[in-house]
């Protein structure tokens, strides 16, 4: 019998498996699809500190930044970890003033951020549009290839991985404590179950009889044809992105993080909107992405997009993930709801979950991520 069953083979489940097994636990990972079948396979691989304001999420991101750097030395190069740095640009004086205050808070929390005056932008990004007010450079912003990162973390965890098996029930004993899961391929017994099902976290929580209000928040990404190397050198985005991330509104929010990839394609993403699991193409979303990208890099106007894709971010109402034991059901742990930052936040999440499974002291204060912090109203028992 393993020490824990982890449900979900996305990047978060993989990181939980990795740190749990590093802590000496044996784990089984179950997913109804292949590796990275969920949002991990539909995300970009930004590991950002730049877009997070001082607070619990930034603390989690800073810990993750350190852990990703460590992991880059352990995982094979196909993981494509690269610390390329972020450049957040302000289009006008007001945006620059706001960005300055934002960056000041971040710096106090331990982030490296440097103001770049308007006339210094060309050195960092020669193709940026003229007339921008200035920018902040965040050298710690990095990236990985998300699906590969999940696959390599799982491999390094040496976990027992069961793919193509759907969890259909959470098994509990008479006292209400978790004793495993039922899958499409039979029962798996374990004293602990970790809910790492991302956007489907609400449904899994419901199988365990608890309410966790994870909602899907759709995002589109545009991919261009391959372009000459180093056309775009950093992760470049406009300061209004930060407002989009923190917004709770259901309407379409867009921002365009523009970045080059080793394959030469440029990624432009992503939009944010709450429309349930609607898979149809939104030309409005693509319009905004393309327009923002061309605003930042006018050379892109003549470039063609060869692909667009979308995914559904796991979204919790206060924009913080649910991480750790669920006091309502002994043996149930959550690691989901990371919204647009799950790739970045995966290692710190895994470390927190592993510590909780082992009853070790947590690496940072887990209180803001308590899974039972939401209203328990919505049909918990159903």
């Amino acid at each position: 019998m393993p020490d824990a069953v982890i449900v979900g083979a996305g990047v978060v489940g993989a990181a939980c498996a990795y740190y749990a097994s590093r802590a000496g636990l044996t784990v089984t990972v179950v997913d109804r699809g292949p590796v990275a079948a969920g949002t991990t396979g539909a995300g970009e691989g930004n590991l950002l500190v730049s877009d997070k304001e001082a607070g619990p999420e930034l603390d989690l991101a800073l810990l993750s930044t350190r852990l990703w750097r460590e992991l880059a030395g352990t995982l094979p190069p196909e993981t494509e970890y690269e610390r390329k740095g972020g450049l957040v640009v302000a289009t006008d004086g007001a945006a620059l003033t706001a960005l300055r205050a934002f960056a000041e808070g971040q710096t106090k929390a331990g982030v490296e951020a440097y103001e770049i005056p308007a006339d210094g932008l060309g050195d960092l990004e020669p193709h940026l549009a003229p007339g921008l007010a200035g920018a902040f450079h965040y050298p710690e912003d990095a990236q990985v290839q998300p699906a590969m990162a999940a696959a390599q973390l799982l491999r390094a965890a040496r976990a027992d991985v069961r793919l193509g098996q759907e969890v259909t029930a959470v098994l509990t004993d008479r006292g209400g404590a978790v004793r495993g899961v039922r899958t499409s391929h039979g029962d798996l017994h374990a004293p602990a179950v970790v809910n790492a099902t991302g956007t489907w976290g609400k449904a899994l929580a419901r199988l365990a009889g608890v309410h966790l209000p994870v909602l899907p928040r759709r995002g589109f990404v545009l991919v261009t044809e391959p372009l000459p190397p180093r056309l775009v050198r950093h992760k470049v985005y406009a300061a209004d992105y930060i407002a989009g991330v923190a917004s709770g509104s259901a309407g379409l929010r867009s921002s365009a993080v523009v970045e080059g990839t080793p394959a030469g394609t440029v990624l432009i993403g992503a939009t944010r909107e709450r429309v349930g699991f609607d898979r149809t193409l939104s030309t409005e979303a693509l319009r905004r992405l393309a327009a923002r990208a061309v605003d930042l890099f006018p050379v892109l106007a003549g470039v063609r997009a060869i692909r667009a894709y979308h995914g559904f971010r796991p979204y919790l109402p206060d924009h913080l993930p649910a991480i750790g034991p669920d006091p309502r059901v002994p043996g149930l742990y959550h690691a989901c709801g990371h919204e647009g930052a799950g790739i970045g936040l995966a290692p710190a999440t895994g470390l927190l979950v592993a510590a909780a499974l082992c009853d070790d002291p947590p690496p940072l204060d887990p209180e803001p991520f308590r899974p039972d912090r939401f209203d328990d109203t919505e049909g918990a028992a159903s």
Partner: protein, 455 residues
């Protein structure tokens, strides 16, 4: 301006549908990516003579707004109408069409199964070779045509793969002056007997006929069934191929390979429906008997999405006659008329025959045995069979999408159109319905400012 009907695709299905709908009084707009109407079968060079069947159909298009060279990259719902966005002309100009109903008649494209050496110059798709000849181009590998001869003159061209299209290709090549020493078909007559009453009455004879009818070929071309080209050889270009016997699962039989010298190889393993506009709109699909997904339609060619019809090979490969029959039924249905019973019967008979052929030519799972680890499966991103297999065995990929995420196979210029079916098979699956939200490359400037079509 809102059209009553927008038809995407000007092959036999779309042309027939557009003409029929216009005759019934509908205001029809017909869009096609190609410069000339006719689709895959009636492809012809600009400026050259128009094939007779196309002439007949085009004559009936006088009341149709025909927009050639318009590649529809997406169709979206806008209130109670549809908006079709297209990239138009050589300048890739933006265009949009608004319509109350849409008919998808986007046809099919050729299925390629890779083998060692298939990326050598001189190896071409069978349908592609056919299309090039019809388009007035010389075949790669045969050089420029000598004066007074056809475009394929003089060269030795092996035709290989599976499916009834191979015969048409061999005949066209021979007519153009090429020598076709051998036609290599992976399936065998037993497959015809096994699969369907529609084919079974005299399977061996039918099989011969289907593959080998032309008198032109009889004298000069050997027909080898249950064989495949399992390797292509050459240093800078194709010089020879290895032809190997297959077992019923298409596994190469060891020790049976022999070398056939040639100047070119035309190879294809049937066609697969072009689905992305339909899947983008959420249309339900079915799996055809050869394992590929196709748009699911009812007896009136309605898809599962109200206001959307589909006809022709996007609903399953079946030839031009079936495509036309479906186009006509669809047009009647859009106009609110019940298709006559005779048309429905004809469609059912042709579809049953097509499905039986599809079953008989379904690629056997053993074809993956003719790959070696170094064979490039995805040519755009240069991903080898070994890397794809490693993604499956070591990294947890289980379908084409997860292979793509872990290897980049299918992420390049062709967006998996060439390698998709092969990659799915290497992951142990039948291919899933294609998802390509952009059905062709679109300039960012155009995405940023899509033209709004007036109501």
């Amino acid at each position: 301006m809102t059209a009553d009907l927008a038809v995407v695709g000007a092959g036999p299905a779309g042309l027939t549908a557009a003409a029929t709908a216009a005759r019934l009084g509908l205001d029809v707009t017909l869009l096609d990516a190609a410069q000339r109407p006719g689709g895959q079968l009636y492809r012809h060079p600009a400026g050259g003579p128009v094939p007779r069947p196309v002439r007949r159909l085009v004559r009936r298009l006088d009341r149709v707004t025909h927009l050639p060279h318009h590649h529809v990259w997406t169709v979206v719902r806008d209130g109670d109408t549809w908006l079709l966005h297209a990239v138009a002309g050589p300048d890739e100009a933006p265009a949009a069409v608004r319509a109350r109903a849409v008919l998808l008649a986007t046809g099919a494209y050729e299925r390629q199964l890779p083998f060692p050496g298939w990326t050598l110059p001189g190896v071409v798709g069978a349908g592609g070779a056919q299309a090039m000849l019809k388009g007035g181009l010389a075949l790669p590998g045969t050089g420029a045509p000598p004066a007074g001869t056809g475009p394929g003159a003089g060269g030795r061209i092996v035709v290989a793969g599976s499916g009834p299209l191979l015969l048409a290709v061999a005949t066209t090549l021979a007519a153009a002056g090429a020598r076709v020493p051998v036609l290599v078909e992976a399936s065998g007559p037993a497959a015809y007997a096994r699969h369907a009453a529609a084919l079974a009455r005299n399977p061996a004879k039918l099989f011969q006929g289907a593959l080998y009818g032309g008198a032109l070929l009889h004298r000069t071309t050997r027909l080898l069934t249950r064989h495949a080209v399992t390797a292509a050889h050459g240093t800078t270009r194709l010089e020879a191929v290895t032809v190997t016997r297959l077992d019923p699962d298409w596994r190469p039989v060891p020790g049976t390979g022999r070398r056939v010298p040639c100047d070119a190889l035309a190879v294809g393993h049937g066609l697969v429906p072009q689905l992305e506009l339909a899947t983008g709109l959420g249309c339900a699909t079915r799996r055809t008997p050869d394992g590929t997904p196709a748009v699911e339609v009812d007896a009136e060619q309605r898809t599962s999405v109200p206001g959307l019809w589909a006809a022709g090979e996007t609903c399953g490969v079946g030839g031009a006659e079936l495509a036309s029959a479906e186009g006509e039924i669809a047009a009647l249905s859009v106009a609110g008329r019940r298709p006559p019973a005779a048309a429905a019967r004809r469609r059912a008979r042709l579809r049953a025959f097509a499905d039986a052929l599809a079953a008989a030519h379904r690629p056997g799972p053993g074809w993956t045995d003719w790959l070696d680890g170094a064979t490039e499966v995805c040519r755009c991103e240069e991903v080898t069979a070994a890397r794809i297999r490693a993604a499956v065995t070591d990294l947890g990929a289980r379908d084409a999408r997860s292979v793509k995420l872990l290897t980049r196979a299918g992420m390049g210029w062709c967006q998996g159109r060439t390698c998709g079916p092969a990659v799915a098979r290497l992951a142990g699956r039948d291919p899933a319905p294609d998802r390509r939200p952009l059905s062709c490359p679109v300039p960012l400037s155009q995405l940023a400012q899509p033209p709004g079509a007036e109501k």
